[in-house]
Symmetry: C2
Subunit: 360 residues, 2 copies
């Protein structure tokens, strides 16, 4: 039986600029059928959590401009399950709002907080891990983060070093390390003490509220000032006034790297943050020429190792292209070597400077 | 004063398959603002002839499916100035119909026949040459073709060798030669006796009708059988029944290479048949990186020598592409090295086989 005090917060406000123009401000990555499965990343995140928490306890936090997309893609959500941020303020204010909102509804609540735009495989292991995590945070004054066992010396992820073990999968956190260089990543991999930071968290609403009071008191004070409004008709107005005044700061920086009661559950399900075109390429099915064709018909000659990502059914005919990204969406077409993808953000800036924001 | 017996026939039924997908069956090359001038190639052909023949004597022959495009682009045309072919039958039947149609309206008519999808520069010289040509065919029982003085050993064009001179620019035709190899083209260029076949013709309607009777009698017989219908309400029905039964044959093959009274006027205006992407590239204005951007905003990095041709205002962001064709129109995107453009026809065939005709 599903525990009615368990909640899920799906963070869904990102703009996915690294995948521009396939992901655009008006329809970011999490709202796209990014892997060609027939479900968008947001829908996959929702489907994945359904066996674990009651449907009515799933809360989506997103930017106000995406309200229509969320309602269209998750028609079962009630309006009070969608928290609309009036401004983009990174993850800490987003999570604080969700915590105050949920705690007002259920003081005994525990919650999982998860991004909406990652890939997770081996969902049975995911389910088992999440349930164990819920049980741990419900019985301990703990902030729990999920760590993924690394399978390659990835330099694009954050790493968490484990400390004293609680049991075979849960430990105290010793250190957080942002993206290491390749040499360091190889050392991390070899020691067995380092795990990828998945950005998936579990805690009791009361525990994370307390952590905000201790480690990010400005944010706690702002939300506490509206304590009486959460769960009432005045919550929306309060948020519209207060939220934009919050500092823009990540939950890792505001809480996780400071709090003494941070734990890691080392999990074994498959995970990829789909943070780069190369990651998308690696996680997509390829044809015999090792090309990936997302949402398009492809006729390729002398072309291998490319990823074609298209918004809307289209025929792409390509000759003599190797290891490129071809992304076509609405009024923007990007053609860029996969090896240069880290420059796409600069290209978006250049487009903005030269042509204004209509292409963002 | 403009001579009221002079007519112009603009042939406008081609499908421009070499420029697929920029040129597509539903909107071929001649209906596109192919050079980014603000006027389509058809409109430019019309504008060019306006100072020479009376507006009401300009006849456009096209495939029935393009009637709306012709009317939209040339709103001054009356319905009886647009001849709609019920089937594609190459240039000889097209020209025969126009000749019978015009002769019925004006037995003294002379006419220029011109493609609608070529580039012509130095239009004052064009005007002078055409008027001289009209005067020649009006005073002689002559079929006159315009020859362009070659400026490079082009292997993609047909050549005409001049024979006995009539005056400083008009001569009898000695031979026609289809696309020569490079060696031969260089010889042609060096002798000064060979001129590019422009596909622009002048003659009296009566002279070309007589030539059809002598050299393509099947076609002449077909059109003669409806002599009473031309210029009447029954012309349309007659054509719909008879035209599809015509042999599909070019005017060069049916008449010009056979008739004894064929002359060439060697002209000096600039001309290009815009028959290849490379020709379009050469005749388009380039930015500092030697890229051509047709109908699009371009943000190019490490990219030179490309041509970007887009249907509809779009932003193209490209990195690391050299000497490519990028053509984007509706639901088709083509990316192909300029050096491989002769393979595009095969790609169109492949697309047709694999996905049906929806992308043609």
């Amino acid at each position: 039986m599903i525990n009615n005090h368990r909640y899920c917060v799906i963070m869904c406000g990102g703009i996915g600029s690294r995948f521009w123009p396939y992901s655009r401000t008006n329809r970011p990555k999490q709202f796209i059928d990014f892997l060609g499965t027939g479900r968008t990343l947001l829908q996959m995140s929702y489907d994945r959590i359904l066996p674990i928490v009651p449907k009515e306890n799933i809360i989506v936090v997103t930017n106000a401009q995406y309200a229509p997309l969320v309602k269209e893609q998750l028609p079962d959500l009630q309006d009070d399950q969608i928290l609309l941020e009036p401004a983009r303020r990174n993850t800490a204010p987003c999570i604080a709002w969700a915590a105050w909102h949920i705690a007002a509804r259920d003081p005994e609540a525990s919650m999982i907080v998860t991004p909406s735009d990652h890939l997770i495989t081996r969902e049975r292991e995911f389910e088992t891990s999440i349930i164990k995590g819920f049980e741990f945070v419900e019985n301990n004054n703990a902030l729990l983060t999920l760590g993924i066992k690394p399978v390659r010396p990835e330099t694009g992820y954050g790493y968490i070093q484990i400390g004293d073990k609680v049991d075979d999968s849960i430990s105290k956190v010793k250190t957080f390390t942002e993206k290491p260089n390749l040499e360091l990543a190889k050392v991390f991999l070899s020691t067995g003490e380092f795990f990828w930071n998945s950005g998936i968290f579990l805690w009791k609403a009361a525990t994370i509220k307390e952590a905000f009071h201790k480690h990010a008191s400005n944010i706690a004070t702002q939300f506490e000032s509206g304590a009486e409004f959460f769960g009432t008709a005045r919550e929306k107005e309060f948020i519209e006034n207060q939220f934009p005044a919050c500092a823009s700061i990540s939950i890792d920086y505001a809480i996780m790297e400071k709090a003494p009661n941070v734990y890691i559950e080392c999990v074994t399900f498959g995970w990829n943050d789909l943070g780069t075109w190369s990651a998308l390429y690696d996680n997509s099915s390829k044809n015999k020429d090792h090309n990936v064709a997302q949402n398009c018909n492809l006729l390729a000659y002398n072309s291998t190792g490319n990823i074609f990502a298209v918004d809307g059914d289209k025929l792409i005919v390509v000759d003599g292209l190797k290891d490129y990204i071809v992304a076509d969406a609405g009024d923007v077409l990007l053609i860029c070597p996969k090896s240069e993808e880290q420059r796409i953000k600069q290209m978006v800036n250049d487009a903005n400077l030269k042509f204004g924001d209509k292409y963002l």
